[in-house]
Subunit: 683 residues, 2 copies
């Protein structure tokens, strides 16, 4: 650019030297991309992004997502140079214990990091979710403003690598971004054609630009990472494109200007080596004897972006305050959901059911909950990855989210709509939900069959790691799915999801527990939760308890004597078996308690006293019942306990046959109880 | 086609009526696609596929993969009409207990089913693997034949649905298929634009044909499912295209000719209802009062395909026998690997290491195993999803698999090469490995970081369900990965993979256990196995034992007294901690045994006696050590046992710091041992 000064160039070169030095000091890391992308990303932070380094959570900011998380230095160095709080010592502390600069950017750990990235593809897909959330939030708060005139209008920028482009989750998300016509989204694809296995041509020959055009994107190519003006022009063109997402294919030379290692896999994921670092410094006019050299002029120059950011923020604030004055109710809604608070009395809307032997499927109870919450919680929105009718995730009467042109006979769409249609793209769904929850205060949910939680697992794990409150509606939660057979029947999924630290897996026993589960999930804002719901009908039980559900486990039916000799613990559709078994055992004189334990994680979080009260350590005769593998129950069972479980794949048949053939029955529970009692008595 | 007879048309209409009847009888299922695709798939089985219904495992056959597994009737009805063994009663038994016609096609369950499908996207990705395997096998057995002239030349056909196209795994696999120039692959994309959420435009607006062109595919569009000639012309064009995979976009009307439900989501995944079924029959000239009506003429006509198949097989056999005569060594190799046998004395090639405190990383030991096996086991091939240098999966001196044009400075490629480059596409890797293992007798392996097993989990599960012997090289198997931080450190993965029924998770303690693990994995042919290998160096231990590894768990170091008071059990890099802890405890007079348990699944498969011998039930003082969640160890621990584990996410730092900070140390093992001993003594 014409006004590109020597200080700008020196700042860019400083970034390169710091990237090389930081990786060299740590002994591992990714210097190459941080070096080659320095001009573009510097230009982005200094001249393009609307951001305020003194207020990283300013809701009017543009978002910058580093999908190429391995190039964390690309982001850390901008946060340092822009003045987000990182200092040179933090850069020196790259990838060390307790530092603000971990190997990959972590949301909630380093100010200015919008999402945790590293597992490839996630950042780009998160950003698609953010772009969708931006539109939905605008629709909630300022639907009538002219395009570009609202305080809620801003841009989402993503930096993606070859690896991001190869991952299927970005294909899913990008196809959907095209359908959604996300004009507020710009992906900068760093097409350096080098990955860990060196030249990407060994595995990547597609015409990516054409592929994105096929998705309906606007695509521009910029040749050369040093062409800052070309890059800025492309960004401007992307911003001008309001009806399509944009991709800027930026052809860079990884590791530039390292004389011997640039443009090779050696510059990607390892320290360059002292000699090569010295060569870089020489080439850029830095003292090869010095490390981490940053001149005061450069830092003062780059940190002046904070003043421009403050000015931009102040200008925005005037428009925002005017909006707030004119829209007090919307402002109150914004404040409420930004604080992740729920409205007074909202639980009055939750449905309740009378005890009833026939009952209904918990997925259907969930549908009633959603229908009842529709008007009470405008922040709640979501959909399914093409299983809406099975997952029962559509709120009655809600429009679909999308341009009007994608409306179908069944689903009228409008840009600010509420029902999400992910297509058969479970992985993207998971990542998009993360992006939506990260962007603002809305509460997104996404549905699929429980078995297909496997397809979205990397995104679920990141939700847990980031502690964002996404909600999964996983229906058809056991062999109760029936005829579709073993490919569709979850066996190990409940256990394997419970293994993810920080994820709440909630498997309500009946309709009332389902309402209670939704209540508890919505009240929980510090991490993701998945509801495991039945396809098949389950009786509406006596004795279910909202507070008990929120505590994860509780006494559903006490031993008639008041002092149990045996405790039967079950989840979901198997609680009814425990209830029936209790009757038989009580009739035989065994004082039997039934514990419903919809959420092991919540139960674990209770105080010792409560847990001891529900599952007294003195009662060694214990049976656990769940139509899945036993793995997560052994720790409760103890030496005398028994587990009624399923340790093999399912089969294709009606569900009643399957429960019988596989021995998940009242009789099996009674038999297990007798074994456990006998073990205690003989032990 | 000109020679399309009334009987052909009647057969097609019979398929439609049977599809409607079968779903109606069961009460659930997917009639629509089986109806609309009847002409094309009938034409494919009758006129295109080289197949022999009397020999479903004929290695010269074309493969047909039903990626749209929900439309299982599409396949079952062809298997019935072609005479693969299914009879009308099997069709009537659709989706019922014990039937040969489960909800989704299951490999190994129904003759003629090439792979288990249903989870969308998997079949198409499997087929890409099959097409790659076909080329690799040709290279092993008949490399010099002219194109199309070898007994090992055949075609892979796939039928894919809108859902398959939406799933990211097909994007990954299709991009790679373009790079690999798989001219033997044809995907028929049933573009009916209807999925469960009805009109797909609500979630799918991309230009799929253009997207596949961007991948480098040959794409033809055929308008109308009734245009059999157009379809056959497209198939012919696809076959003529030998340097690119082909996609035939076949625009059909789902549920045709059901008058009220065709072209809607109602025809997709539910019974049509008696009235609508009657209407279909009337429209097609069938008696609406009759069900499952198949005329003898139709059946005789369709089953004549078996004669043509036999003739084709016989002609092929002549060529094959000539090849066998000329290539006795190659024939012997074919026979051996087709029987999944290993050559005499192959284990002599396995490396061994002297006990050594410094040792090496198990991923590096694995590299030595692969290098040593290169010439002994030509059936072994594989690669990595862009982590070859980290996973150490490249056999030294092996060419890469691919057209010569994709060769890079680091990797020379040739069509019959051996090293696979999946790109950053873990999910496709998993599915491709399944396809390779299903296609023939080669043994494929694929590497990535253990954390990214999450990305490939749906494919791993299907490998287990199908019992195919794929091999995963999952390195960087704990917080030992170090600086990359929590996004890259597996915590719950070992437990969650152990949850998959039929998958062997093998975590060797050192270099010698790594060689033993490879031996046992290669000898196991009835299911998939994953090797969990360290990034960091681990000592080469005294006392490791090949037979013990194959049994899953064994006594690595006996209590000095010969009668243990305490047993320390560990896996992988934590075995060294148990060994060190034993020294301290023995010095304190505690008779301490160390058990190495590289594979819980194999240990479980041993006889009771052996397991009792290794972990005597009388020894209640027990400690289990693994740098991951405890979930899979509780069942062994018992009331007095202790588990040294990690119940939270990792962090970014050097690995030694992480092990110390997170308490996975010798001291922690000793402390846990004291707690367990004290619990036993006080109990």
């Amino acid at each position: 650019p014409e006004d590109w000064t020597e200080l700008d160039q020196r700042a860019v070169d400083t970034i390169r030297v710091l990237a090389a030095d930081a990786v060299e000091k740590c002994g591992s890391g990714h210097p190459g991309t941080a070096m080659s992308l320095a001009p573009a990303v510097y230009a982005l932070f200094q001249r393009v992004l609307r951001h305020d380094p003194n207020d990283a959570s300013w809701i009017g900011r543009d978002r910058f997502v580093l999908s190429a998380g391995h190039s964390s230095l690309t982001l850390y160095l901008q946060l340092y140079l822009s003045g987000y709080g990182l200092e040179l010592d933090d850069i020196k502390g790259l990838r060390t214990w307790g530092s603000a600069t971990p190997g990959h950017p972590e949301y909630g750990h380093t100010t200015g990091v919008e999402t945790t990235t590293g597992p490839l593809g996630q950042g780009l897909a998160n950003a698609v979710g953010m772009a969708m959330a931006a539109r939905r939030e605008r629709g909630l708060f300022d639907p009538d403003a002219e395009p570009g005139e609202s305080a809620f209008d801003h841009q989402i920028y993503v930096l993606a690598s070859d690896g991001d482009i190869e991952e299927g989750v970005t294909s899913e998300a990008s196809s959907l971004a095209g359908t959604q016509q996300l004009g507020n989204l710009t992906v900068i694809y760093d097409a350096n054609e080098i990955s860990i296995e060196d030249d990407t041509h060994i595995a990547l020959s597609e015409d990516t630009a054409k592929r994105y055009e096929a998705y309906g994107w606007h695509v521009v190519t910029v040749d050369g990472g040093e062409d800052v003006q070309g890059f800025l022009d492309a960004v401007e063109a992307a911003r001008a494109e309001t009806d399509r997402p944009s991709m800027i294919v930026l052809r860079t030379v990884i590791g530039y200007p390292a004389p011997n290692k640039m443009n090779s896999g050696k510059a990607h994921g390892a320290a360059l080596g002292a000699e090569e670092v010295a060569e870089v410094k020489k080439a850029l006019g830095f003292d090869p004897e010095k490390s981490f050299e940053v001149s005061e002029e450069v830092l003062a120059h780059t940190r002046s972006v904070a003043e421009r950011g403050r000015a931009s923020h102040e200008k925005w604030q005037i428009a925002f305050d005017a909006w707030a004055d004119e829209n007090p109710q919307r402002k109150a809604l914004l404040d409420r959901i930004s604080a992740r608070q729920l409205p007074e009395g909202w639980t009055d809307a939750l449905p309740a059911w009378e005890a009833d032997g026939k009952g209904i499927a918990t997925r259907k109870a969930s549908a009633e909950v959603l229908a009842n919450l529709k008007d009470v919680l405008p922040e709640l929105w979501g959909g399914s990855s093409d299983l809406a009718e099975s997952n029962n995730t559509t709120m009655k009467g809600a429009d679909s989210f999308g341009p009007e042109s994608i409306s179908t006979g069944m689903f009228p769409a409008q840009p600010y709509g509420r029902t999400l249609h992910f297509g058969v793209r479970e992985h993207a769904m998971g990542s998009l939900l993360n992006g939506i929850a990260l962007h603002g205060g809305t509460r997104p949910y996404g549905g699929t069959f429980l078995i297909f939680s496997d397809y979205m697992r990397p995104a679920v794990r990141l939700a847990a790691l980031m502690r964002v409150p996404t909600i999964y509606v996983w229906t058809h939660d056991s062999i109760g799915l029936g005829e579709d057979g073993p490919t569709h029947q979850p066996i190990e999924q409940l256990a394997s999801l419970r293994g993810i630290p920080g994820l709440s897996v909630v498997r309500p026993a009946d309709s009332n527990e389902t309402a209670a589960a939704w209540k508890a999930v919505l009240e929980k804002t510090d991490g993701p939760a998945g509801l495991a719901l039945t396809r098949q009908g389950v009786p509406t039980l006596e004795g279910t308890d909202r507070a008990g559900v929120a505590r994860g486990g509780y006494v559903l039916a006490e031993a008639s004597s008041g002092t149990p000799e045996l405790v039967l613990t079950a989840t979901g559709s198997e609680v009814q078996l425990a209830v029936e078994a209790r009757k038989i055992l009580e009739a035989e004189g065994v004082a039997t308690r039934v514990v419903s334990m919809p959420c092991v994680e919540w139960f674990d979080a209770q105080e010792d006293d409560y847990r001891e009260q529900v599952l007294p350590s003195s009662v060694r005769a214990r049976v656990f019942v769940e139509a899945g593998i036993a793995q997560s129950w052994h720790r409760f069972a103890g030496d005398n306990g028994e587990i009624v479980s399923l340790e093999h794949f399912g089969a294709s048949a009606d569900y009643k046959t399957l429960f019988n053939e596989f021995g998940i029955t009242t009789d099996a529970v009674v038999a297990a109880a007798r074994r456990s009692l006998s073990s205690v008595r003989s032990g």
